[in-house]
């Protein structure tokens, strides 16, 4: 039982960051209909930014986190403006190929800049874990979880409660009518992609210090993000949040009770099961973002 509680706690904490990753992708993939293969690279970009600011520039850890998210959003805006805007209206296959190209280019740029050697990020939290009864959890993980929940809540409020969020939802429901309301459609596309990218960078910036940072770390992260979006239903904000938490818990349980070698297989197992039995996602009935 104690072991179960420990796995559950680890899973929920990991799942918080997965949820960020999934929300970012569900916004882009689920409502812009762009199969965003660069999502994982934005995740590793976030992690490398924190590493770079902390290690190379001796910067403050929290400043580094903030910069990573902000620069991730800027990079996303750049990708949208330069690669996706000229392709708007073309087939989903065309954008998919272009995004695969961008993914390969970005990953190789990381390898060139930082080499293939895995890096650890120094963080200011104490090494000794917090022990509560039978379970223990490190302080950095507590911080990561709290930050993830805060970002999820802020994203939810942005999409649900602000004028910009309403315009985003309206645009992806009916672009032409949104234009008639005076919405600047180009700007909404850029902002949405930047926002999703910022969340991916945030997930990488938060999990980077928990694990290690290496150039291909984004590949697995992107696949997990797709698993979360499929699990939660395309474009479904709440689904992505719960999907992230579920994936985190399932991974921890799989690693704990089956074998740690199977940890990363869990996401794909989920994709297969969901596609077989509920192809619209577990939470398809919940209201969509767009």
């Amino acid at each position: 039982m104690d072991q179960f509680l420990q796995h559950l706690l680890n899973g929920v904490i990991l799942g918080g960051s997965y949820a960020l990753l999934g929300i970012g992708l569900t916004l882009i993939f689920g409502i812009m209909y762009v199969v965003n293969f660069t999502h994982g690279e934005l995740y590793s970009f976030g992690a490398y930014m924190v590493f770079g600011v902390v290690a190379a520039l001796h910067g403050n850890f929290f400043v580094a986190l903030f910069l990573a998210v902000a620069l991730g959003a800027v990079l996303g805006a750049g990708i949208e403006r330069s690669l996706l805007r000229p392709l708007r209206g073309t087939s989903i296959d065309t954008t998919m190929l272009v995004m695969i190209g961008a993914w390969i280019a970005m990953q190789n740029a990381e390898q060139l800049l930082w080499t293939g050697v895995a890096k650890a990020i120094r963080h200011p939290f104490p090494e000794a874990p917090l022990v509560i009864g039978p379970v223990s959890v490190s302080w950095i993980r507590i911080f990561v979880f709290a930050a993830a929940i805060l970002l999820i809540a802020a994203s939810h409020l942005l999409i649900r409660r602000t004028r910009l969020g309403t315009a985003m939802r309206a645009t992806f429901q009916d672009r032409e009518t949104a234009a008639l309301m005076g919405v600047n459609i180009d700007a909404i596309h850029t902002v949405t992609f930047a926002f999703g990218s910022g969340l991916a960078a945030a997930a990488g910036a938060l999990l980077g210090p928990v694990f290690v940072v290496f150039p291909t770390m984004g590949d697995l992260a992107a696949l997990k993000a797709f698993a979360i979006v499929i699990l939660g239903g395309m474009g479904n904000f709440l689904g992505a949040t719960l999907g992230g938490l579920i994936l985190g818990v399932v991974e921890e349980m799989g690693a704990g009770y089956i074998s740690s070698g199977y940890r990363d297989a869990m996401g794909f197992l989920i994709i297969i099961v969901v596609l077989l039995f509920r192809p619209t996602g577990l939470f398809a009935r919940a209201e969509r973002v767009g």
Binding site: R163, T166, A167, R169, A170, Q173, D174, E176, T177, A178, A179, L180, M181, G182, V183, N184, E287, R288, G290
Partner: protein
């Protein structure tokens, strides 16, 4: 108020509108009638900026707008209530109305207008937190009209407002449009129901094959033998 001169619109190589000219004076209710595919909807889309015309001029209150964005045109005071109502199905009724006032920078005035719309259409207030996609066709039409009014336009373009509505709701919708005109908003309306469109209009244009075939006061056209034979069923 609005002058369209020599408008040409193309979809690929097909000319949907060829050399169409019309004008709307302030305070008028003008209707466009004609068969399916005659170019009526295309004309409205060109006026509101959804379509870039291949040639011709569109002048609103002295300014050329044929190259302007929908956003800029709405900002000048032209709202477009599109064919098929096109409410945002997953947004609530209130959010749909808020989208109508998206460009406005006076929240107090917008809130006041929303209150007025709720008083005029109490069913919308009852359902303000409901997703617009769950409303009936008639309720969606009221919402679409309310949303267009939220920008406080001086000219409203209505595209087939009666399409797909039950007969009693068709009459209600036309009453609402008359009421809007009586409050001083100029109306340009496309309507397939030729009899109603001619009867309620100050002036009408008959559009055929992308150009104006006839123009006249609504009641004059009602008596025109050609219109009678071709559009009013004898």
């Amino acid at each position: 108020m609005l002058v369209v001169e020599g408008l040409v619109c193309r979809y690929g190589k097909v000319n949907a509108v060829r050399e169409l000219s019309l004008r709307v004076e302030e305070g008028e209710l003008v209707t466009l009638i004609g068969a399916n595919g005659a170019g009526k909807t295309t004309t409205l889309k060109a006026i509101s900026g959804l379509l870039r015309p291949a040639a011709g001029r569109i002048v609103f209150e002295g300014a050329e707008i044929q190259a302007a964005s929908p956003r800029a045109i709405l900002g000048r005071g032209i709202a477009h209530c599109p064919e098929g109502r096109r409410v945002f199905p997953y947004l609530t009724v209130q959010e749909n109305l808020e989208m109508g006032s998206y460009l406005r920078r006076d929240p107090a005035g917008a809130a006041e207008d929303m209150g007025r719309i709720f008083r005029r259409f109490p069913v919308l207030e009852e359902r303000r937190r409901q997703a617009a996609g769950t409303l009936s066709g008639g309720e969606q039409q009221m919402l679409a009209i309310g949303r267009a009014l939220m920008s406080r336009p001086r000219l409203i373009l209505f595209d087939e407002p009666s399409l797909g509505l039950a007969p009693n709701l068709v009459e209600t919708t036309f009453d609402i449009i008359r009421e809007i005109r009586n409050q001083g908003v100029t109306v340009l309306m496309v309507e397939q129901n030729a009899y109603a469109a001619l009867e309620m209009a100050d002036r009408s244009y008959l559009i055929e094959a992308g150009a104006v075939a006839l123009e006249g006061r609504g009641r004059e056209l009602l008596g025109n033998p050609y219109v009678k034979q071709a559009y009013l069923g004898g």
